[in-house]
């Protein structure tokens, strides 16, 4: 099993949108490397004949009727937003937007 390099941790942290300081990166790389090595043991018994279990209890077909519920109060929700304007959430500029 591959080990987790500092560069790899930096790549994954970027994918997870988490800024890390260089010190954090150093520490996490060391810790995660040990953890990954430990958890990688799962592949020892995960043979092809074993089916995966994604839900602990096997339910199927849970549907909702197509009936409206009361919406949230917009003012209450926007009051909790970091920034809002004109009834909308104000967010910093989005790169790549037209």
């Amino acid at each position: 099993m591959s080990t987790l390099s500092r560069d790899e941790v930096a790549r994954v942290a970027a994918l997870a949108r988490i800024d890390l300081t260089p010190a954090e990166l150093d520490r996490l790389a060391g810790e995660l490397d040990v953890i990954v090595e430990s958890v990688a043991r799962v592949s020892e018994v995960a043979t092809p004949d074993v089916p995966a279990t994604s839900h602990p209890l096997p339910l199927t077909n849970v549907f909702r009727a197509d009936e409206p519920v009361a919406p949230l109060d917009r003012d209450e929700v926007l009051a909790q937003a970091p920034a809002a304007r004109d009834g909308k959430f104000l967010v910093p500029q989005i790169l790549g937007e037209e």
Binding site: V12, P51, P56, Q80
Partner: protein, 505 residues
């Protein structure tokens, strides 16, 4: 007058029903207790005194008017801060949610409010329920009432400590890998993780969706049964909610309290004892087995070989699901927003800065681990394999429950360790959950109840596991063991806890 905070919830409920005391009195007594011991314990992140007293007054008025009330109406309760409460701050122990006031209630909170239980406040926890010591809270440690230098367990250390320190007779916890049961064990209290789907997850800030389950934290088995019946049952807003009615737990607890377990087969899980378990923990476990035999139970040994891989599977499934569940904390719609210290202020960079500053170490560690496990090229080896281990663990449980009605083990390998002791060793910290995790992976119910003190004078927990949807068995066996042990101790274990500064006796 008797100290209302020392009563069990069932006793308090009876006194309220008999109108011997009012809910305002009971609530105020707990608020007073909170004021006295919180500086030392720090179980609460937010105390909602005014709201709690208002609810209490309302319940008292309705009772006076002859209204038919829920059995627990007027009994105060504490709620873990991972559960959203309309109008009360909800942070999940994270700085990234500091000051957030949810615009809606979790289903279980709706039920608590509808039944008229005053909510005393929100309890401390490891950030987003990631941890086994509550040291990963963004708002400071909670201290174990048995020894303030020690951890109260985690992630629900606040709920367990609040109950243990008589700051609430009832509390809500959530259990993803042991976060109800392990804190119960190290604080000498009772905690139940119901069958997955027994209690609605709607309004629980998700850690790992396929593992999370809310449940009761109390001082007695009967109180847990009462609270489980209140918060359990089908919820159409949670697709994984079971349609089974949440009934029969109280009856099972009352039946078990007779102390008779004739015909009950108890399976001891071979893999959850021995190496790594503190001698005092193992000694109490053996004594409890003797007590069960004495009550007429047949004790057999069962083997669950795949449990050796449970911890590894858990620390892949949990981080993977958490990495996705926690993606919404990005500073765009609610909570903290942090601008990068330099460079352009774009949405992407603000998200990263917000998460970099708002998340604590353990959250960063697990979110990055989970992101990595799901990342292209690794899915099959990690997440896919972990899901297969889950199947193997379910098969082990199926076989074991073919040989026994309930399975038992120590809840945690050790008693409460010192604050800071394992903070720098994540893997050692993870080992605390080795006995509790299998139940979450399989979705089955589990209970921890106190079964004595270890050689260090700290409480030890006894874990009972039952097949999915057979939660009632926990209450029957748990109540029986509780009755037998309390008889031998001549009172509840918590009675042996040291008094906290200013505590009344």
């Amino acid at each position: 007058m008797t100290d209302l905070t020392r009563m069990t919830a069932a006793e308090l409920a009876d006194r309220l029903t008999a109108r011997d005391v009012t809910s305002v009195e009971a609530t105020q007594a707990h608020l007073d207790r909170i004021a006295v011991v919180e500086p030392a314990v720090h179980a609460y992140l937010h105390v909602a005194a005014d709201e709690a007293l208002a609810t209490a007054a309302d319940v008292d008025a309705r009772r006076a008017a002859g209204e038919d009330l829920h059995a627990l109406a007027g009994v105060p309760i504490a709620v873990k801060d991972v559960v959203v409460t309309r109008g009360l701050p909800t942070t999940a122990g994270s700085r990234i949610l500091e000051g957030w006031v949810p615009p809606y209630d979790a289903t279980l909170v709706e039920r608590i409010k509808a039944a008229g239980l005053p909510i005393l406040g929100k309890t401390n926890m490891d950030e987003f329920a990631m941890g086994s010591s509550t040291e990963h809270s963004g708002y400071g440690n909670t201290h174990n009432p048995w020894d303030l230098e020690r951890i109260p367990g985690g992630s629900g250390g606040g709920s367990a400590a609040a109950v243990a320190a008589y700051e609430a007779p009832l509390a809500i916890g959530t259990d993803t890998g042991g976060s109800i049961r392990q804190p119960a064990a190290v604080t000498g209290t009772v905690g139940v993780k119901p069958t997955y789907g027994s209690v609605s997850r709607y309004g629980l800030i998700a850690l790992a969706s396929s593992l999370d389950q809310a449940g009761p934290c109390t001082r007695t088995v009967l109180d847990s049964a009462l609270l489980h019946e209140l918060i359990g049952g089908h919820d159409p807003r949670d697709s994984t909610s079971l349609t089974d009615p949440a009934t029969g737990y109280v009856a099972a607890a009352r039946e078990g309290a007779s102390g008779d377990l004739t015909g009950v087969k108890v399976g001891v899980i071979r893999e959850l004892q021995g190496e790594g378990y503190q001698p005092g923990v193992l000694a109490r476990f053996e004594e409890s087995l003797t007590a069960l035999r004495g009550a007429g139970a047949e004790v057999v040994e069962v083997s669950c070989p795949s449990f050796a891989y449970a911890l590894a599977a858990y620390y892949l499934i949990l981080p993977a699901e958490a990495s996705s569940n926690l993606a919404k904390f990005d500073g765009m719609r609610f909570g903290l927003r942090v601008e990068p210290s330099e460079g352009p202020v774009t949405a992407e960079r603000v998200m990263a800065a917000t998460r970099g500053q708002g998340f604590g170490d353990e959250v960063k560690r697990r979110v990055i681990l989970g992101t990595y496990a799901l990342s292209a090229g690794y899915y099959d080896a990690y997440y896919g394999s972990a899901q297969k281990v889950r199947t193997l663990i379910q098969r082990d449980f199926d076989a074991a429950f073919g040989a026994a009605d309930v399975l038992v083990s120590p809840t945690a390998p050790t008693t409460a360790f010192k604050l800071g002791e394992k903070l720098d060793d994540p893997l050692a910290m993870y080992l605390n959950d080795v006995a509790t995790i299998p139940a979450n992976l399989a979705g089955i119910p589990g209970m921890s109840l106190p079964n004595g003190l270890s050689d260090d004078g700290l409480p030890v927990g006894f874990q009972i596991l039952a097949p999915a949807r057979a939660d009632a068995r926990l209450y029957r066996v748990g109540a029986a063991l509780e009755a037998l042990l309390e008889t031998s101790w001549e009172g509840p274990l918590l009675g042996r806890a040291p008094e906290l500064a200013g505590g009344a006796a």
